[in-house]
Subunit: 322 residues, 2 copies
């Protein structure tokens, strides 16, 4: 895993993925007490940064292998990313999703042309389902985060942050990243190490699912006790990845931990001040900036809004806080 892989991924993504905007709102700055720069990955194709990693991984496959189809496990954003990237590569995708995934994520994954197979989180083993289907049909597994070409794809977001921060004259700031398994976090950290070493990544996670924060603190991988039961479904993973954790350990500052209510309030602020639709997990970094500002240093802070795939009922709860 190195910066050259990220640069190569950026070449492959060029013309297919969006260079997402780097937004600022004077009213949000006033709330946060510092300048807040928002990398709006919810505007990426499929509504989250996951399209970057999916495109990177699919475009790196041998065309003959790719033509047989791909398979992925995901609660929703990686699912949509892989589904659309497969469609755009004229190949097929099978996505194994928990039956209780947000309805929008299930619907959109199907709408992008993927075959969706649902399973019960409590009684079925997704790895067993995936291995069986994959073997039967000769499909290639696209892992959600612990895969070099996926990390490289997510890292392209970091290359853009480096450029966009430089355009704004920002050379020294913390970059708060919504963090699940660490694909986006480690990819951005690698890109910034090479391109903007004054920008330092810190992961943001939900309370009770702060495996990365605890792992960084302990210096070794720690697991979450639970694997479901939080509105921030997009960033709930059992533990940091074997590939992503060493990168985060080397390059990231301490993790920030937010509550579900803070995620909902951050969604309301993104709606009001930025005119962006954020999902709870995609608003974690903004929540950290708005509600844990005393744990952050610097006059400027950069945050990712990493996704916007949220059901209307959950969004309505956020609006009640607006």
């Amino acid at each position: 895993m190195n910066i050259d892989m990220i640069r190569a991924a950026a070449e492959r993504l060029n013309g297919h993925a969006l260079r997402t905007p780097f937004l600022n709102s004077p009213l949000l700055d006033a709330l946060a007490g510092r300048r807040v720069w928002v990398k709006a990955e919810c505007l990426q194709l499929t509504g989250s940064f996951k399209f970057r990693g999916a495109w990177s991984a699919l475009s790196a496959l041998d065309p003959k292998v790719r033509a047989k189809g791909v398979i992925a496990f995901s609660s929703g954003n990686h699912a949509q990313g892989v589904a659309l990237a497969a469609k755009m590569h004229d190949t097929s995708a099978v996505i194994v999703m928990p039956a209780d995934s947000p309805a929008m994520k299930l619907e959109n994954t199907r709408a992008y042309g993927a075959e969706v197979i649902t399973y019960d989180r409590d009684t079925e083993d997704r790895n067993e389902i995936g291995a069986r289907i994959s073997q039967e049909r000769g499909l290639t597994l696209i892992k959600p985060f612990d895969e070099p070409q996926v990390i490289a794809g997510q890292g392209t977001c970091g290359l853009e942050i480096a450029q966009q921060a430089t355009e704004q004259g920002i050379t020294d700031a913390q970059v708060i990243v919504c963090c699940g398994g660490g694909g986006l976090t480690s990819g951005i950290a690698l890109a910034l190490e090479a391109e903007a070493p004054g920008l330092r990544v810190r992961p943001a996670e939900p309370e009770g699912f702060d495996d990365v924060a605890r792992s960084l603190h302990a210096g070794e991988i720690k697991r979450n006790l639970r694997t479901s039961g939080n509105l921030c479904d997009a960033i709930i993973t059992p533990q940091p990845g074997d590939l992503t954790f060493p990168i985060m350990k080397r390059l990231c500052g301490a993790g920030l931990v937010i509550t579900e209510d803070q995620a909902l309030a951050a969604m309301a602020h993104a709606w009001n001040r930025l005119k962006l639709v954020a999902e709870p997990g995609g608003a974690a970094a903004l929540a950290a900036v708005l509600f844990h500002g005393d744990e952050i240093q610097g006059d400027d802070v950069i945050v990712t809004i990493s996704g916007g795939n949220v059901d209307a009922a959950v969004f309505a709860r956020a609006l009640e806080l607006a």
Copy 2:
């Protein structure tokens, strides 16, 4: 009014206003039956394109005149644009707003530092109020649309559309623009005439407030019967401007007319597919594309989402349609 004024405004806006993104969603394309390109002006500073015209007008004033302060009449988006542009120019702004303006627009205008004076649409004359205050304090009136430097500022959005369409290989398409008094519509039309003559503007308006569509059809200015009572508050004006109408008459295709329910449904689609917050008036062009596609020609269509300043209760109504 000419293209050189728009180019000069673009120079003055550079580094202050945002070059807003040009977004596309495969799922939205599928709904519309053609490729839909969205110029996301709701992401502009203050949440609408109006910041462009306000900055253009304020930056064109003699500094001594500007230092005395400015005044504007507006139901909300021009209000916020002028308020922030005044603050960024270190001068003061008085904004005369209807007392029944959306709460968010009143709050945000104050939050940008302006002095807000409300009036009763039914019993008070805003022109009388404005003239009195303006005279007492030596303020310069910044008109919302019928003012050359405001049209020039809105036209910078058209310069960007011309560039962004070219980047996507689009040389021939209709450009549907949310239309009130015609500042944005005429500005974009002038910019495209010079920079991308294969792109032709068509205004979109709410039913019952289709003064521009009727004026274009008649070849002369027609008034609306009502001046309030529609969710699309941002694009409700009594009649086209004396400056904007001749430009629209020369350059625009026939107007498109949408219902309030179509505007709400378009807001839901913008939320779901684009992760953008649109206000009803800002969703009029997208509503025309989604619900009046048979009146539009071409494989590609370009639409503005011109603003996103909407109260939570109205947004919740749109979400119910998601």
